[in-house]
Symmetry: C4
Subunit: 207 residues, 4 copies
């Protein structure tokens, strides 16, 4: 006696889309929540400590929201993709690796934004986001253009809109990385602006 | 050859509800379990240490149950909501960010409840719960009132009951925060009372 | 435009069973994997260190398998239960809190089994397993006897078999706890025996 | 009033396949993401530190991709298996325990590859991968040969192809372990080669 597999498997021998979603949701949830481990106090009195460590709160919430926006975009893309193949899965693994990496440079940025190490911190942060946006584009355009993984009933206007909104990502993040070589604080403001743009765009887009 | 997406997608291009549930369950599970990392011993003999560190057990179990009750409430709300949009997803991200934050002030409360830092600890704890209850209300009333995301077959009595039970949340938690400015221990008792109320209410409610 | 909820909701306003499963799978996965953080080396040469820290390997694998067996039992019970209510959810939260606690005393046991602190470590371990087995029984018998949550097509022999195999759990673990007050190593052997029994029983049971 | 279980249960009393997938996806996600905790800086200036710690980046990304490939293979196998029994679940638990163990020796390898401890690090890494590949084979051949868990509509060519590609795994990893006893760096290159082979094979295989 044994348990029959519940879900229908149209194409046996391939990783189902729902497992890609499950792995991605796991990595997103861990990456978003992990920075709470860096929110710690080790001085006295507690009231002063709780004020002094505000950059760790900022890093936690900023990471949570950045990763949350990436999660919304990932959910949108996967909902439009009807099929996966192993190249698509590998591109997703690269994207998830960079998403899981985000907590590290965000923490650096929170600690060093206003000291002598600002440039190194902004560069570390920017390069991570640049790579993530590269793989976001790779996933999307591989799905749309190269392999015909896109669902047949996907709305053409929506697909075009996503293409238009994702394509400038690497360019925008890349420009901010180059600016960081000369003006770290201006670069940091550019990153905040780009993320804010995607946040507003993600919200307005659905109306 | 490739894998066809298993689940039907009525509205392609939007994050499916099941992914919101998956991300939320991941964050709830991590936030609830993470405090076990703070349960550590570093003295001798072990028997004395195991008694001495009882506040870390209390913090672990209290956090686990608080987050568990939030999880039950979140599950109830999402089960009544039939559609999501990106504003709804963003409100959920804010709620989850505060849920993931709960372990930090709970740990402070466990360590400092009876020393000179009690007030700062109670305030940190209370403000976190206050913000979480604010976003719980935002999610619920946005879903019910503003965007018509509520399922058509949702029971009107149930919806009204949830509205009545959620609305006082921010008021109750907010009052306890204000009391903490003058009487930290009374405020801590108020928080325990409010959580106990939601615990009992959640249990009795389903009969 | 928005996303319609994919899954049918027969009883809106209640936490779906699949979310209980998702939260449980998250807690089980985290609790099982977390002990890898305790597998660390901090001496030289590495080859000696890797031998010296064998108790941390033992703790990791023993915890992984113990929690895995609990996960198999939990999956079996939930697959037989057709409905949930909030008391059932709360009993599950208590069980999950003790499952998430298991890594802590297992680590103590691995480090102190053969030194002067053996008794305290065995007691911490045993009380945790005793409480977990109590809530396992509470979940099962609440589901079967008190609230009629059991599926109508659940096989009567299977239900009886599970009742017979779960009921002695608290008694067995409780006896081993009492033995630990006098003979810690005998008690440790009893715990190993009980877990081995459930491991073999879980495997043989399905044939 | 209560919530009816959403999913059909063809064989009540057994752990559903989707819960095995959920536990596995949780363990894979945690194991892949956990190494980000080891990416830390503790010196100045930051720019030098960020260059100096490159082995921790390498360990993170290499672990993420290795575990990701294991995840793709696991997803492929489970998609072909139609039924599970408890022996199958236990074999999966052993595999997941070794997957969750991978971050530890990978970290050792990243730190010690070019110092006097290279041999110990390569051996720790290799034995872990050898055990994981053993249990991968055990899962696959138990599913295919011993218990008839394989789906009836599984493509015979595909099944044969997987058998052919998995079988040499333990032999390849085992040979590299033996080589590590004499030539650690050659052994490390062999491990990299085997993983690269499975990476390319996984990608090409799906065309």
């Amino acid at each position: 006696m044994s348990q029959t597999n519940d879900a229908p498997h149209e194409h046996r021998g391939f990783v189902p889309t729902r497992r890609l979603e499950a792995l991605a949701d796991g990595v997103f949830a861990i990456a978003a929540t992990l920075l709470i481990l860096d929110v710690t106090v080790n001085g006295a009195p507690l009231s002063d400590e709780l004020v002094r460590i505000w950059p760790s709160y900022a890093a936690y919430f900023f990471t949570f929201l950045s990763i949350g926006i990436a999660w919304i975009n990932h959910g949108t893309v996967i909902s439009l993709v009807d099929r996966t193949d192993r190249t698509f899965l590998l591109l997703n693994l690269f994207l998830l690796a960079f998403v899981g990496f985000i907590p590290f440079p965000t923490r650096l940025l929170a600690v060093h934004l206003f000291d002598a190490d600002a440039q190194a911190a902004v560069l570390a942060y920017g390069i991570t986001l640049f790579c993530a946006s590269l793989f976001f584009n790779a996933i999307w355009f591989y799905g749309v253009l190269r392999r015909g993984l896109l669902a047949r009933d996907a709305d053409a206007h929506l697909v075009e809109g996503i293409s238009r909104s994702y394509m400038p990502g690497p360019l925008l993040f890349g420009s901010a990385v180059i600016v960081a070589l000369f003006l770290p604080l201006v670069s940091a403001a550019m990153f905040a602006g780009i993320i804010l743009f995607y946040l507003v765009e993600a919200t307005v887009f659905s109306r």
